[in-house]
């Protein structure tokens, strides 16, 4: 990927003069820090700047593409999180059983596998073996209700669900087990409290904080997964826009998108931290 945005747009054979003129037009002749500060100044005022690789405002490119990304992320969160967290809690309730072992081994395997491996497995199984659906997602999503959206994105959503589930199940299980090994749980057993009540009233209450923390961390992790899955299933979203931006050296576009992704990520991280603090009874009920 040689050259800058001007070079890429005008092609390899453009002469020096027109390149220089075009760079001046795009503002690429200024020093880098000036370009960045200028962009940042406008950004905080709500101006995302003009794309370097096309003549559209960045904001318009983003507006055209954000829907797919958002829908896939939300669907994944809505389906993946409740299922994984429950599975993790159940595994922690019956540690050492067959169910627990299968779940643990399964998530150990999946957690280390890349997103495109999971996607490939799913495509092989459903598309090639069962002959359902297709390996690419085609068509728009205008006017679709939630079920139609799910039918539209089922393969990418399922891939992402597997990806976050492997992390979530493992971490939820560990969080609950950690609480289950504390002395006050032993005390509850010695008080003759039934197992179901021990888990629900004594253990879960104390693991809510860690679990919310884990959920937020995993949603943040989704940011990476969403990008890969979009490329894999070949539908257009913010991720494909980023890749395109990198390939065309469109810094304005990358900066704007980077800002959006990072802000989302940072907000999720903050939620994770706040959850950890709020769940501490010492802070909720001061002396």
């Amino acid at each position: 990927m040689p050259g800058d945005a001007a070079q890429i747009r005008l092609g390899q054979n453009a002469d020096e003069d027109s390149l220089r003129a075009f760079r001046a037009e795009l503002g690429l002749d200024k020093p880098l820090y000036y370009q960045y500060l200028n962009w940042l100044f406008n950004f905080v005022q709500g101006d995302f700047g003009m794309s370097l690789s096309s003549d559209y405002p960045t904001i318009q490119l983003i507006r055209d593409r954000y829907e797919n990304t958002l829908v896939v992320s939300l669907l994944t969160a809505a389906i993946g999180i409740p299922i994984s967290v429950s599975l993790g809690i159940i595994a922690a309730m019956f540690p050492g059983t067959i169910y627990d072992r299968i779940l643990t081994l399964g998530s150990v395997t999946l957690v280390a596998a890349p997103e495109f491996f999971t996607a490939t497995l799913l495509v092989l199984f459903f598309v090639f073996f069962l002959d359902i659906g297709s390996a690419v997602v085609v068509g728009g999503i205008e006017g679709k209700n939630i079920f139609q959206l799910l039918a539209h994105f089922w393969l990418p959503v399922m891939t992402l669900c597997f990806v976050i589930a492997s992390q979530l199940i493992r971490m939820t299980r560990a969080a609950v087990l950690n609480v289950m090994s504390s002395p006050y749980i032993e005390m509850a057993i010695l008080k003759g409290i039934p197992r179901s009540r021990i888990v629900i009233r004594h253990a879960l209450l104390n693991s809510i904080g860690p679990i919310v923390n884990i959920i937020a961390l995993n949603l943040a992790y989704l940011v990476t997964g969403v990008i890969v899955v979009e490329v894999y299933f070949g539908y257009s979203g913010l991720a494909t826009l980023i890749v395109q931006g990198v390939q065309t050296r469109d810094f304005i576009l990358i900066q704007a998108l980077g800002m959006i992704f990072c802000c989302t990520y940072v907000i999720l991280m903050i939620i994770a931290d706040v959850a950890a603090i709020v769940s501490n009874p010492r802070l909720r009920h001061p002396k």
Partner: protein, 309 residues
């Protein structure tokens, strides 16, 4: 007196010999030697296999990575046949040869990047923990800023700014993951630093280098080494994801991540899908195998390690 009553007032003494001294009972016996479980052993075999391929693959491969075994037919995605055991890819190149060439690149880049991440992260992390004060505040704040960004976004921005060659990939991945290693090394260093034996050597008047190298380092070494495997997995996933997005190892060089990307078309109209499945499967077997070993190690370490991550 009834029997019950007698039992109640009885003063019983166990037999004893005057010679036996009632010494302090020994502490719990030291935990057993570390042994790999069955899954761990399977993991070790798979990792050994891939390391062998990574080192010798390019010498053993039937073709050069960019050779076209059957130049006469202009076909793509050919199914397995004599001369191309795993078939051919989008550009009619031998999948097996590219896989073997790619192994060296994917594993080599990842291992180099992880080592770099460790050198930078451990040095700064232990330094921060031990020195504390302003040095720690500055380094930790910078580190937190980078930690608060998604790794893949960081990678994309760096690649967009400086391009994508193998040395750049190694440095990029190395520095990005150095932030995580830094946090871990600093946390472990902090734990050890407050131990009384470190205070003892400070009180004795030992210099900083002695304290770090002789008191702290032997105690942080093991947890850091056992984390190496886990970190390597994340680096492999990161490097292959970048390549998969077309921003890592550049064509025509083979690499597992970019092989998946190049041959995605096979899933729609290819005669054989091996060109996609094989590289994806290779990455998965490698990372899962490493993870199986890591799991054994962290179970042995009492799961303390996983708590910190």
């Amino acid at each position: 007196m009834s029997k019950e009553d007698k039992e109640f007032t009885e003063h019983y003494v166990a037999e004893f010999s005057k010679k036996v001294s009632f010494d302090e009972l020994p502490d719990a016996p030291p935990s057993g030697k570390f042994r790999l479980s069955l899954t761990g052993k399977i993991g070790a075999v798979v990792v050994a296999f891939w390391v062998f391929i990574a080192i010798f693959g390019q010498f053993l491969a039937p073709y050069h990575e960019n050779d076209i075994p059957f130049p006469d037919d202009y076909l793509e995605f050919q199914p397995p046949k004599p001369g191309a055991i795993l078939g051919t890819d989008r550009d009619d190149r031998d999948v097996l040869s590219r896989l073997m060439y790619g192994a060296g690149r994917t594993i080599g880049i990842s291992v180099a990047a992880t080592i770099l991440a460790y050198i930078v992260g451990v040095t700064l992390g232990i330094g921060s923990a031990v020195l504390g004060g302003r040095f720690d505040t500055v380094i930790s704040s910078i580190n937190n800023i980078f930690l608060s960004l998604p790794t893949i976004m960081l990678g994309l921005v760096i690649v967009a700014a400086v391009g994508s060659t193998i040395p750049i990939l190694i440095v990029t991945a190395g520095l990005i993951y150095a932030t995580v290693v830094f946090r871990l090394a600093r946390a472990i260093g902090m734990d050890v630093k407050v131990m009384d034996f470190v205070e003892v050597s400070r009180g004795r008047g030992e210099n900083l280098w002695w304290i770090i190298s002789k008191e702290i380092w032997p105690n942080v070494r093991m947890p850091l080494i056992s984390d190496f495997g886990l970190r390597l997995i994340y680096v492999i996933l990161f490097v292959s994801s970048l390549s998969f997005l077309g921003l890592g190892v550049q064509p025509p060089m083979a690499d597992w991540g970019s092989m998946v990307k190049e041959n995605l078309g096979a899933l729609q109209y290819g005669e054989s899908v091996i060109s996609v499945v094989a590289p994806a499967f290779s990455i998965a077997t490698l990372t899962v195998a490493i993870n199986l070993i890591v799991d054994d190690v962290s179970a042995h370490a009492g799961g303390k390690l996983t708590k910190r991550l």
